[in-house]
């Protein structure tokens, strides 16, 4: 106990500083950014995140010690309402530490990258302000000691995502994308909120430790737990772009590329995974929910991969790839392989950030061109980018010993333990991944340059601020996987051990841990690697040897290909069944219900009174004879009634 106190005292300051520094960076950039030079504001922003990273590292190293245990730091009381007491409190355990490292680490790299990438943009300081704000919220999300603080971060990153997607606000298309992202996220957020309410009702608290310590009182598949977890999962689908709420993510590529890298690949979209992992005790109690997660994850993984096959926008390909990879993470979650999911989050953060930044570098080199049909042969112009890009591509395709292989393989192994069918589908998805990623690579870097002369003339390697992050990330993509080398390959799976305390209280998990036969496991690895290699070969044959080029927009093929190229018409479907009816109903409610029924009724009362007046005043005919009759008959009636009664 003393230990814990010591830790929280020891790290209290850094714990608070870690999110606060980016916030400070945001404040400075937001208020004084205009008066700072571009380099200074970028440097400040980068520095704030980098310092956070260093602070996180100190905690990380401390967490390596056996004596380390999770601790909380309360900053101030935030909400008090009856039984509901929510402090602004941070909770640091191994999971948080890992996320903090990813966020601040990848984050500072991307900040650095942005200094180069956004150098010529007039909204430079604004960009860094938003980016810092995002890091702040993301840290809040993972550091929160209760669901509500997590939710603050959750919505906060949504805000930043909105601001950054619509960063170039002159373009209404971008604004639409930003709005769409925000709204779709909010759909998920509502699920999260409701989940929280149920948690509060049932556990009387929103603080993680309290909730999880009471979870043991519930039976497996208790209806309430299933409801809670399903609602939380709805939140996760929104944020992590799972079916059916994934369509915002490809659109989100409207934002500047570093944003796509940081927010829409490495960090924010993994918030859903964080939430599930964090609540692993609850999820483990609800196998029904896990099934749902599994199915959704699987469907998303394959769906995203299929769509990725025929995208021609370099960032869109990566976006669908992200959707698909997130699907894998959810498969892992659905299987109860929480640490595998996190493992993939980590490696994905490395290689996807790398890929996006590489794509950014390409776009930078191509003067803003994003269509891979107009690229090709870039290898010789932008070597560093090319090399790092291919590393990323290999990593994502699951070729050992790069990072993607280990994390994906762990998921696949878990899937096979659960059901070979799922494994089969997952491998299928990963084959598609290998194919479209290499398609992307080949189309971009190999063959002839297909752009305009002007673009060709302008082709150049990016500055150091851009390439350094690329290189660092490439290195990470190569070595990142070694954090979790499975036993079968002679590793000790450091990550699993490190994260073990997070799942220590999850009794169900410890009972259901799978143990595949080592040979079988190796065989499975071989199959998946072989499949990936086959797909790479096919891609090479098609796009390099045969130099097939994707058709222009005017000459799209029909049939299934067209369906894929048009992303299965999901957007159109949503537009038809949700957006249009909502808009129609909005008009109808106003023009019909509001005007004619509700207001109409009120006005009718008024009109009725005036109409009554119009009629009644006619009685006042001015004819005295009538008046006499009225008086006489009234008297007559009054007396008559009294007589009769």
């Amino acid at each position: 106990m003393k230990d814990i106190v010591d830790q929280s005292a020891q790290f209290a300051l850094s714990t608070i500083l870690i999110p606060l520094l980016p916030l400070l960076g945001f404040t400075i950039n937001a208020f004084f950014g205009k008066h700072l030079s571009k380099t200074l504001s970028g440097a400040l922003a980068t520095l704030s995140v980098a310092v956070s990273f260093i602070l996180s590292l100190t905690i990380f190293f401390a967490a390596q010690n056996d004596g380390f245990s999770a601790f909380s730091v309360e900053v101030f009381e935030w909400i008090t309402a009856g039984a509901l007491r929510i402090p602004m409190e941070f909770y640091i355990d191994q999971l948080t530490v890992m996320f903090m490292l990813i966020i601040t680490g990848v984050g500072s790299l991307i900040h650095l990258y942005s200094m180069g990438y956004m150098h010529d943009d007039e909204g430079h300081n604004r960009f860094f302000a938003y980016l810092n704000l995002f890091v702040f919220f993301m840290l809040l999300l993972v550091m929160g000691a209760n669901y509500l603080i997590t939710f603050i971060g959750w919505e906060g990153v949504g805000l930043c995502s909105y601001l950054l997607i619509g960063f170039w606000y002159k373009n209404q298309e971008y604004n639409n994308a930003a709005k769409k992202a925000f709204i779709m996220n909010r759909i998920g957020d509502l699920g999260f909120l409701l989940g929280m309410f149920l948690i509060f009702q049932n556990f009387g608290s929103l603080t993680f430790t309290e909730v999880f310590s009471k979870a043991g009182n519930y039976d497996l598949n208790d209806g309430m737990i299933v409801a809670i977890t399903l609602l939380l999962f709805v939140g996760a689908t929104g944020k992590s772009a799972q079916l059916p709420l994934f369509t915002w993510l490809p659109d989100a590529m409207a934002g500047p590329t570093p944003v796509s890298a940081l927010i829409h690949a490495a960090t924010m979209v993994t918030a859903g995974i964080y939430l599930v992992v964090r609540s692993n005790i609850l999820f483990s109690l609800a196998p029904d929910t896990q099934h749902v997660i599994l199915i959704v994850g699987l469907a998303t993984a394959i769906f995203g991969a299929i769509i990725g096959l025929r995208q021609n926008d370099i960032k869109k390909v990566l976006a669908y790839s992200t959707v698909s990879q997130l699907g894998y993470m959810f498969i892992a979650l659905g299987l109860g392989a929480y640490s595998a999911a996190f493992f993939h989050v980590m490696t994905h953060a490395f290689f996807k950030a790398l890929l996006f930044l590489g794509a950014g570098s390409v776009i930078h080199a191509m003067s803003g061109e994003q269509d891979i049909r107009r690229m090709g042969g870039l290898w010789k112009y932008i070597k560093v980018t090319g090399i790092t890009f291919i590393i990323g591509t290999i990593a994502i395709s699951g070729i050992p010993p790069l990072a993607g292989f280990f994390s994906k393989d762990e998921i696949l192994a878990n899937a096979f333990a659960h059901s070979p069918l799922i494994w089969g589908l997952a491998v299928g998805g990963s084959m598609l991944t290998a194919f479209y990623m290499f398609r992307l690579f080949f189309l971009t870097f190999c063959g002839e340059f297909r752009g305009t002369e002007e673009q060709k003339h302008h082709l150049h390697e990016s500055p150091a601020t851009i390439t350094i992050p690329l290189i660092v990330l490439a290195v990470l993509s190569i070595i990142g996987g070694f954090a979790g080398v499975p036993e079968v390959l002679g590793g000790s799976h450091w990550l699993n051990r490190f994260l073990a305390p997070v799942f220590a209280d999850n009794e169900i998990l410890s009972h259901s841990a799978h143990h595949l036969d080592h040979n079988l496991e190796i065989m499975l690895m071989c199959i998946s690697v072989a499949a990936a290699v086959i797909m790479i070969t096919i891609a090479y044959v098609v796009y390099v040897s045969k130099s097939v080029r994707p058709a222009d927009d005017q000459h799209q093929p029909g049939g299934f290909a067209k369906l894929i190229a048009n992303k299965f018409y999901v957007d159109e479907l949503y537009n038809a069944i949700i957006v249009k009816p909502v808009m129609f109903l909005s008009n109808a409610l106003y023009n019909f219900v509001e005007v004619y029924i509700i207001d109409g009724f009120v006005n009718l009362l008024g009109k009725g009174a005036v109409g009554g007046s119009r009629v009644l005043r006619l009685a006042q005919s001015g004819n005295i004879g009538f008046y006499f009759f009225a008086i006489t008959i009234s008297i007559l009636v009054i007396i008559l009634i009294n007589t009769l009664s």
Binding site: A81, N171, L194, F197, V602, G606
Partner: protein
Amino acid sequence: MLTSSLILIPLIGAALGLLAKGNNSKIVALLVALVNLVLTGILISQFNPAGGVQFEQNCSWIPSLGVNYHVGIDGISILMVLLANIAGPLIILSQFNRDIERAHIYNALILFMQAAMIGVFVSLDGFLYYIFWELALIPIFFLMLGWGGPNRQAVTLKFFLYTLAGSLFMLVGFVLLYVNSGGAGFDHSVLVGLQLDETTQRIIFGLLFIAFAIKMPIFPFHSWQPGAYTEAPTQGTMLLSGVMLKMGIYSVFRWILPIVPDAVSYFSTLIIVLSVIGIIYGSWIAIRQKDLKTLFAFASFAHVGLIAAGLFTNNAQGLQGALIQSLVHGINAIGLFYCADIIQNRLGDRLVDGKGGIRLIAPAFATLFIIVLFGTVALPLTNGFVGEFLLLAGIADYSIVLSGVAGLTVILCAVYMLRSYQYVMLGENSRSVSFTFPDLVLSEKITLIIIAALVIFIGVYPDPILKLTEPAVLQLLEQINA
């Protein structure tokens, strides 16, 4: 005495302002409002949340009707008083750079209105309360008539009559309470102590609540609202949506919950359902509104629906949420309507369509606008979130399904707010070449900055405010469930 001076100072200020001419009247009004704000600050600093009713003043007024001049402040009214006093200076400041015809009368009416509304919030005698309640209608009536939009006459009359209709029923309700008290008077403590039977409670509930339902308004009593908000001069709209409708919410706290608790539990489902319908209905309609003011009016209606639902959840979250959200909604509504006004002031109309590109040339305005907007959208760490979260939590405690439906507001609100912001502010202007949009002048900037600061401050650190109200709310809950 402090409490009474909060009412008196604006009244005296109104009289002084009438004597001043032109711009001087604005300054006088602002100073008076600021004095009142300072007083409120002093009051809050001396306020003891657990101390029940404080700063009381009780003297006889119309003994033969059992009416006393009884004012005081407790945890429930303090936020409302605060709101009214924050709103006052903001509203007066908001027209500093505008050429308003007969500004001295305009400002006097605003101050008069402020005084009446503070009176509503601090009255602890039912009759006194009613007088202030109605009194508040008079200045806004003239504000709307004298300075409103083209369709003002019809709209003003409708608004006035609609609310008057409600309040007359409320009057009957109060008389019934008085009669049931055996002529002991209208004092809040007396009325709270009444042991009314079920039927009487229901009748009184119905009579009182109809007034509050219209004022808030709750679906389907809202149809006066969009028109009134649209046609009123901006400061009038701010008063209406910022403070006046809180009178309805506050009144439920003060005059319904503790007095007819059995009826509350009897009607709560109905009212929560109606409120929730209102939330969805209002939000939904707001999506396609063309006039910014109308849009914000429906938005306000939807938000208040949430507050209303929270009022009847009979738990601390709902009630606390309702209180803080009242404060917050007031601030945000003032901000939003002010933004609409600034746009109208620059471009001559408030239509959502045919605009765009403002952010490009007026970044300060755009930034402040979006902060207020996000406050309304209830983004965490903005002021809107705390209340909305507590309210939804309260409703969830009542019924998770209803909470889910009510929660659609977080989605729909994002839809209409972002949509309108996008078309008005973002993109490139679709207007003629001579499109100009001067950025904020000093007074506008100060107003909006204060609002934006409040949006963020309350969002980040709401606890002091919650602490102000918590003991009172808990005590109220005890009373209800006793």
